[in-house]
């Protein structure tokens, strides 16, 4: 019995087999031109085809040339199908119209949607033998493509067209309309499995491509200019905001009054005022370094007040960089008070585990935070006594006041939910105060308004800080920001209002032309 070599894996198969018994590739191409000539398929279909095959005489000269080119290509099985496409396009001098690895209509649709198909490799053929790579797309991609394009033209043409099974086109649907071509073909007597394209087929492919393009063409993306209106919008806004702020810094006008009395701020002021002499205060620095400007301004008057009262401070943090922030705050913002580490204040550093471990503060604090940030034993050892700020402290309930500086809603809630109940239950005068970033106000205010209060007083953002500074007369830092802050906010509102209205109504004004093009698309 005669044998056919599989075009894909090269192994010999009995010639009456439809598909290869090794790799399931189709042995007899669907695009066989003529049933009478089918048996004259050359045996060496693996890819290397003799130009002097019996059928060669019938092939037009231009196609012979082309085929010779292809033959040389086919000797390089490692080349990707897209490279073949490029080479063949070159050979025919008709770029883009010869369907090869990927049918050109798919290729063009892709190009138009700016999708770089080159990056997606087809899965390797199952047998490891060398052979031209099939252009099959992976299943998942195929399904996505169908789902994505969702165009009836594409979907129906794919549904009715046969699947190509051999050669570089293997796996793609509807490459050539086989049945329709058989009767009309005037092509060469023998048709190798690969990349044989007659003029007739080209006509059909063009037809098909036009069909598909007309129905399934994606909107071509407009070429993006290097400087778009988006850029101008961004630059304009950046310039306006920055210039307004810089102007107000360089040419300060009449200073605006700091905001007056706010109940929650006054309440915090009262709490600090009531601290006993040498009162002990736990201060948590729970904000990110980026927020330092706002929290510094909001908290400086508060911490200043604590220091005027001569309070002993214990510094902790649930964020890893908090301890460094705390150290910086005490030394650089409050140098006049000459607070010394280990004497008036102690920095216990990062609470291991962050908010999940806050509950440890309600238990045994010496065990939870045994060392200062300098690595000293904070709670005393044989050689040294307990540091003054920590004398008599066993847990967070022993402090006269707990002050939390915070910029994160979840961290703030964790302090209120986990620590406050313990504070208020363990001592009648113990209380929780907060200095919060402005964004936290709606989250913290309910705890202040609750009855009994769960937050006993707070300062919110620069506004709250300004209000507090006015109460105790420490206005320098807040003052330096307050006016420019107002100018900046006003500029922001103005931009959102004016530019926002213009920007959002512009498409409405120009809609007719735009919607026209949408309908066409």
């Amino acid at each position: 019995m005669a044998e056919i070599n599989c075009p894909l894996c090269g192994k010999a198969n009995p010639d009456d087999f439809e598909v290869c018994q090794y790799c399931q590739a189709r042995l007899k191409p669907l695009l066989a031109p003529d049933s009478a000539e089918e048996n004259s398929l050359p045996q060496d279909e693996t890819g290397v085809e003799e130009p002097t095959s019996p059928a060669a005489a019938e092939i037009p000269e231009w196609l012979q040339e082309l085929r010779q080119d292809e033959d040389s290509l086919e000797l390089e099985p490692e080349r990707s199908s897209d490279e073949l496409a490029a080479d063949i396009s070159e050979a025919t001098g008709d770029a883009g119209s010869i369907p090869t690895g990927t049918p050109d209509w798919i290729y063009e649709v892709e190009q138009e949607t700016q999708r770089d198909f080159d990056h997606i490799e087809p899965p390797p053929p199952s047998p490891a033998e060398p052979g031209p790579e099939p252009a099959a797309l992976p299943d998942w991609l195929e399904s996505i493509r169908l789902g994505l394009h969702g165009t009836p033209g594409l979907a129906s043409s794919q549904a009715t067209e046969p699947v190509e099974s051999t050669g570089p086109l293997a796996g793609l649907r509807g490459v050539l309309a086989a049945d329709a071509l058989i009767s009309r073909s005037r092509g060469p007597a023998t048709r190798p499995a690969k990349l044989r394209v007659s003029a007739n087929q080209l006509v059909h492919i063009d037809l098909l491509r036009e069909l598909v393009e007309s129905e399934g063409k994606s909107q071509p993306l407009p070429q993006k200019p290097s400087i778009s209106s988006e850029h101008i919008l961004r630059w304009g806004i950046a310039l306006a905001v920055c210039l307004a702020v810089v102007w107000s810094i360089i040419f300060p006008g009449q200073p605006a009054a700091l905001p007056a009395f706010q109940e929650e701020t006054a309440e915090l002021n009262r709490l600090i005022e009531q601290l006993p002499d040498g009162g002990q205060v736990l201060v948590a620095f729970d904000y990110e370094p980026g927020e330092f400007a706002e929290l510094d301004a909001a908290a400086s008057a508060v911490i200043d007040h604590l220091m005027i009262q001569g309070a002993y401070l214990t510094l902790v943090s649930t964020t890893p960089l908090g301890p460094v922030l705390a150290e910086r705050f005490i030394e650089e913002l409050q140098p006049v008070h000459h607070y010394t580490a280990g004497v008036q204040y102690v920095n216990l550093g990062y609470i291991p585990g962050g908010t999940a471990s806050l509950v440890m503060l309600t238990g045994n604090m010496p065990r939870a935070l045994p060392y200062t940030i300098e690595g000293l034993a904070a709670w005393g050892s044989e050689s040294q006594p307990v540091l003054p700020p920590l004398q008599g402290i066993q847990n967070v309930g022993d402090y006269d006041l707990v002050m939390v500086l915070v910029d994160d809603p979840d961290v703030a809630r964790a302090w209120v939910e986990q620590v406050e109940p313990f504070i208020s239950s363990s001592s009648p005068q113990g209380s929780l105060g907060m200095v919060i970033s402005a964004q936290l106000e709606p989250i913290i205010r309910p705890y202040y308004d609750a009855n009994p209060r769960q937050v006993h007083g707070f300062v919110a953002g620069l506004r709250g800080g300004a209000s507090y500074a006015r109460l105790n007369g420490r206005e320098e830092l807040v003052r330096s920001y307050w006016d420019s802050f107002g100018v900046g906010l006003f500029m922001a509102v103005l931009l959102m209002l004016v530019a926002g209205l213009m920007y959002s109504t512009y498409p409405l004004l120009t809609r007719p032309s735009k919607s026209d093009s949408e309908v066409k698309g």
Binding site: A293, E294, Y350, P442, L462, G488
Partner: protein, 232 residues
């Protein structure tokens, strides 16, 4: 002012300008600044965590702790060594047990925290508003307190209802329940929008203070450089 301070100010000034250059577009200067920043931050966090967690929790108990402390430190120590194998892709399999341990604890902490730390306290707080026998901070009279309380209750309920996921099959004429849900949806949206708007304004205020601080720094720096130049 020492040389170190002057160099520091120049560095801070340069880095600030490099970050601000992002306003023009992504560019190499911005990249350099943030890569320095990422490296510095990672270094700081690493040392602080080693000093504050690893040394006192794993090393010190083994060296100077009591027998009980040593035994307690051994388990995290073992798990920790296993976890370190995750550094090498080849050995990473050994690290699966400590990772599973972490995930188990994390899931439990999340559930416990959400139920006892969020759901129950928020429900309680909403109900507590209707206790008219005790006045709250901002309500001057009982009538106002009740009105505000009702607004809060309506807001909370409709916001929560907004997220309802289930829906019946789409029909031309929605059922009564569907219309009710749709109404809730609309009202809930108003409250969500107000909340987001407020929070957005808060974030913006924080960012604006940061911008003012940075621009003040730039202006001050330039003044301190330019004024001596101009006066000389």
């Amino acid at each position: 002012m020492s040389n170190l301070d002057i160099f520091g100010a120049i560095l801070g000034f340069a880095l600030t300008l490099m970050v601000f250059s992002y306003l023009i577009g992504d560019n190499p200067l911005f990249r350099v600044a943030i890569h320095i920043f990422i490296g510095v931050t990672a270094g700081f966090v690493c040392i602080i965590v080693i000093n504050n967690v690893l040394l006192p929790r794993m090393i010190v108990p083994l060296i100077s702790g009591s027998m009980e402390e040593r035994l307690l430190a051994i388990i995290p120590m073992l798990l920790g060594w296993l976890l370190l194998t995750k550094i090498s892709p080849r050995l990473a399999t050994f690290g699966n047990i400590p990772v599973a341990f972490l995930v188990g604890v994390a899931a439990a902490v999340a559930i416990g925290g959400a139920v006892l730390g969020t759901l129950f306290p928020q429900i309680n707080a909403t109900i507590a508003i209707f206790d008219l026998t005790t006045s709250r901070g901002f309500d001057t009279n009982k009538g106002l307190q009740l009105v505000n309380g009702i607004i809060i209750l309506v807001g909370t309920v409709t916001t929560l209802a907004y997220f309802h996921f289930g829906t019946g099959p789409q029909q031309a004429n929605p059922t009564g329940l569907q219309s009710l849900l749709r109404g809730f949806n609309q009202v809930g949206q108003v409250f969500i929008a107000i909340t987001f708007g407020f929070l957005f304004a808060g974030v913006y205020s924080a960012a604006m203070v940061a911008l003012v601080e940075r621009l003040s720094f730039i202006v001050d720096f330039l003044k301190s450089v330019l004024l001596p130049l101009l006066s000389s």
